[in-house]
């Protein structure tokens, strides 16, 4: 028995919202749209470039970019603003499991019949759809979860890009034996960065257990009892145990990690490839020293990449200007929108709009990434795009495993308990 809460009651209850009287557009012909994005420098830069380019084309519509925290805090801001009826006209948010938690059918504009949809890749549409309706368009690019490596370090030691976990560990031993360079960088001050060994290993899980996502959603398979799924946790523990980490792994930040891998202070940094944008921003001079490879599994023949879809851009269902909102979203999803983003932050990865192309002279890490998406390349979506079940405590669990506080099997069990709450909250069958 589910009750919808009357929006009016909620608004009345939230004391703060009483103060937030709408000072909306006082202009007559001109329309102002607000656009909420996360505060990653590359995102803000791309968003502002899009807003400016769109305004140049449509002088009567102004887009105001507003930024919010990223990660869990950002999720909360988005959910709270939707619940209290204070969302911006347009907003960016994740696709996949997090998208479903926003109750799209109630909160977002239906974009199913927009003319540009035929130009959007089906795989992206599948992760921003619910009950056959499409609610989002792609913003920014697809990403890979894998390992950044310093090409200069590799060249100096004559190392090859590893295709198996054993090769990866062998490379690490060589780097460690030589000394002076940290083999594997970990940055637990920003706890979310600790999840890559586990989340980025999902391509390998899928090779061993192809129906893992369906069974996982239906509460029929567990991380702790599936050896292939447990592997990611085990790898992380192995790296710690072998003493391959930077000394300050517990206090280092995401930006420290990017600095270390860019400047060659460290050799490997497991990360999502959107970080290329931040490297480009903060360590531009070193961007050509950074390469990328997928997290290797057990079998070299089955080497492939765990891929993250692009973020979505969504229209708020309660907006006063739905037509203008749709026009702006169409612009973001168009080839012109892609080019505007490339110009602003550089080429970071493949776009989800079919007609979009990347310039020829992309940085090496992007070239490495795009190869996994090109003909003959192998990739599979991360679990969060195939199942709505994702536990919120994963980043703390992986910090513990990666710091040697908790054993991998124990951590996997804890994570299995953790996802149960999410499944119950979403009301999935088979979890009560």
């Amino acid at each position: 028995m589910s009750h919808a809460i009357s929006r009016r009651l909620l608004v009345a209850a939230a004391a703060g919202s009483a103060l937030a009287l709408s000072f909306a557009s006082s202009a007559y012909a001109e329309v102002k749209l607000s656009f909420l994005v996360d505060n990653a420098p590359a995102t803000v830069k791309a968003s502002e470039a899009l807003a400016a380019a769109f305004h140049a084309k449509n002088p009567d519509i102004t887009i105001e970019v507003e930024s919010r925290a990223a990660g869990g805090e950002g999720d909360n801001i988005v959910k709270t603003r939707l619940a209290t009826g204070e969302m911006t006209d347009v907003f960016m948010y994740n696709a996949g499991s997090l998208f479903h938690a926003l109750n799209p059918q109630q909160n977002m504009l239906d974009l199913t019949d927009e003319p540009y949809q035929s130009d959007i890749m089906d795989i992206f549409k599948s992760v921003v759809s619910e009950s056959g309706h499409v609610y989002g368009a792609p913003f920014q690019t697809a990403m890979g979860g894998g390992v950044f490596y310093n090409k200069k370090v590799y060249a100096a030691l004559g190392l090859q890009v590893p295709k198996t976990w054993a090769d990866f560990m062998k490379n690490n031993e060589t780097i460690k034996a030589k000394g002076g360079v940290t083999p594997v960088i970990q940055t637990f001050k920003d706890t979310w960065t600790s999840q890559l060994f586990m989340l980025g290993d999902f391509y390998n899980v899928l090779q061993a257990v192809p129906d893992f996502p369906q069974k996982y959603t239906a509460n029929q398979i567990k991380y702790a009892t599936t050896p292939a799924a447990l592997r990611g946790f085990e790898h992380q523990a192995e790296v710690f145990k072998a003493g391959l980490l930077n000394e300050d792994f517990g206090s280092a930040s995401y930006d420290d990690g990017l600095r270390m891998v860019s400047k060659g202070e460290g050799a490997h940094y497991p990360m999502l490839t959107f970080a290329i944008g931040n490297i480009n921003e903060n360590y531009k001079d070193y961007i050509n020293d950074v390469g990328f490879f997928a997290l290797p599994g057990d079998d070299a023949a089955k080497n492939g990449l765990t891929a993250w879809m692009a973020n979505g851009i969504y229209g708020y269902a309660q907006t006063e200007h739905p037509d203008e909102v749709k026009k702006f979203i169409a612009f973001v999803a168009s080839k012109e929108g892609c080019d505007t983003q490339t110009q602003a932050v550089g080429a970071i990865g493949p776009y989800m709009t079919k007609s979009c192309t990347l310039p020829a002279d992309v940085p090496p890490a992007v070239k490495d990434l795009v190869a996994y998406f090109a003909e003959g390349g192998k990739n599979a979506p991360a679990l969060e795009f195939l199942s709505p079940v994702k536990g919120p405590a994963l980043e703390q669990i992986t910090v513990e495993i990666g710091s040697g506080i908790r054993a991998p099997l124990d951590g996997a069990k804890l994570y299995d308990d953790d996802v149960r709450k999410q499944a119950l909250q979403l009301g999935l069958p088979g979890w009560e």
Partner: protein, 296 residues
């Protein structure tokens, strides 16, 4: 209705203002305090996504108490509260005695010990996070001067909670000191003179005069700092976010993370539990401490 009539007649005698005069305050109280309190009790019994809710009885409480990190969080909360509260009592008392003596520039020293209280908790947390950085923090740089290697204060699970507790004490001891100064100053000087004549030494004077007569101050400091310690969150969040992993999680940070994850019903249930927990510890304690005071 009958009780209301009875109360009404009693109020009629005692009331200083007509009923309408109470109305504005009553409305504010109802909207901002009563309604949220009962709403949160209600939502703690539901699975709530902010967009819709379904009534699930006590399942949230069952879930909350079966959280693997909750027991850990409870233990940490108690350790943290007792350690910070105890240190503030001892240090506050000692500093109070020092700063009521005829020490030079007493006013300035009193101000200095109170300064950390005035600084924003988040600011203090961020500053100490930098000072306690394992490889380029000032604290370990100083330790290195003596040829030693300092630990990772905030990321080694053995030290993290105590490191935060230390900062909490540093920040909060000023308030305890001020309370003690007020308590000690109000003790009549005659007692000390009489004790001196009877040949009591400094330790005896402290033990038999200052300590018992500063009891109201001690009670205030214990209760204030214990409540503060039990519901402490901001400093821990600023410094460790409950980490590494779950090792410095306290009840409040467990609740916050549940809220962050979108488990609104569950985290509301957690807040109800925290409320009951604080009440269950502080009410009897306050009762016991105050009763002894009357007996003494």
């Amino acid at each position: 209705m009958t009780t209301l009539g009875k109360k009404g007649s009693r109020r009629g005698l005692a009331a200083a203002y007509p009923t309408w005069f109470y109305l504005p305050a009553a409305i504010i109280f109802g909207v901002l305090f009563l309604f949220p309190t009962f709403a949160s009790l209600f939502f703690s019994l539901t699975r709530w996504t902010l967009f819709q809710y379904s009534f699930i009885g006590l399942a949230n409480f069952r879930q909350f108490f079966s959280e693997p990190f909750l027991v850990w969080g409870l233990v940490n909360t108690l350790i943290y509260a007792v350690v910070t509260s105890g240190s503030k009592v001892v240090l506050g008392m000692l500093l109070g005695i020092l700063l009521t003596s005829n020490v030079m520039v007493r006013g300035l020293l009193r101000a200095i010990v109170f300064f950390p209280v005035l600084v924003s908790t988040i600011g203090v947390g961020i500053t100490f996070t930098m000072l306690m950085h394992p490889t380029n923090g000032l604290i370990n740089d100083v330790v290195a001067v003596f040829g030693l290697k300092g630990p990772a204060w905030l990321t080694d699970p053995r030290f993290a909670l105590m490191s935060v507790a230390f900062v909490d004490v540093w920040k909060g001891v000023g308030l305890a000191t001020v309370i003690y100064i007020a308590g000690i100053v109000s003790i009549p000087a005659e007692y000390y003179e009489a004790a001196k004549m009877d040949g009591a030494n400094a330790l005896q004077r402290f033990w038999n005069i200052t300590l018992p007569l500063a009891r109201p101050a001690t009670v205030t400091v214990i209760i204030l700092s214990l409540i503060g310690g039990l519901r402490s969150f901001d400093l821990i969040w600023a410094m460790t976010k409950g980490g590494p992993g779950f090792t410095t999680d306290v009840v409040a940070s467990v609740i916050y993370k549940q809220y962050q994850a979108g488990f609104y019903g569950l985290s509301t249930a957690g807040n109800v539990v925290l409320f009951v927990l604080v009440a269950a510890i502080v009410v009897p304690l306050s009762f016991a401490l105050n009763r002894k005071e009357v007996e003494a």
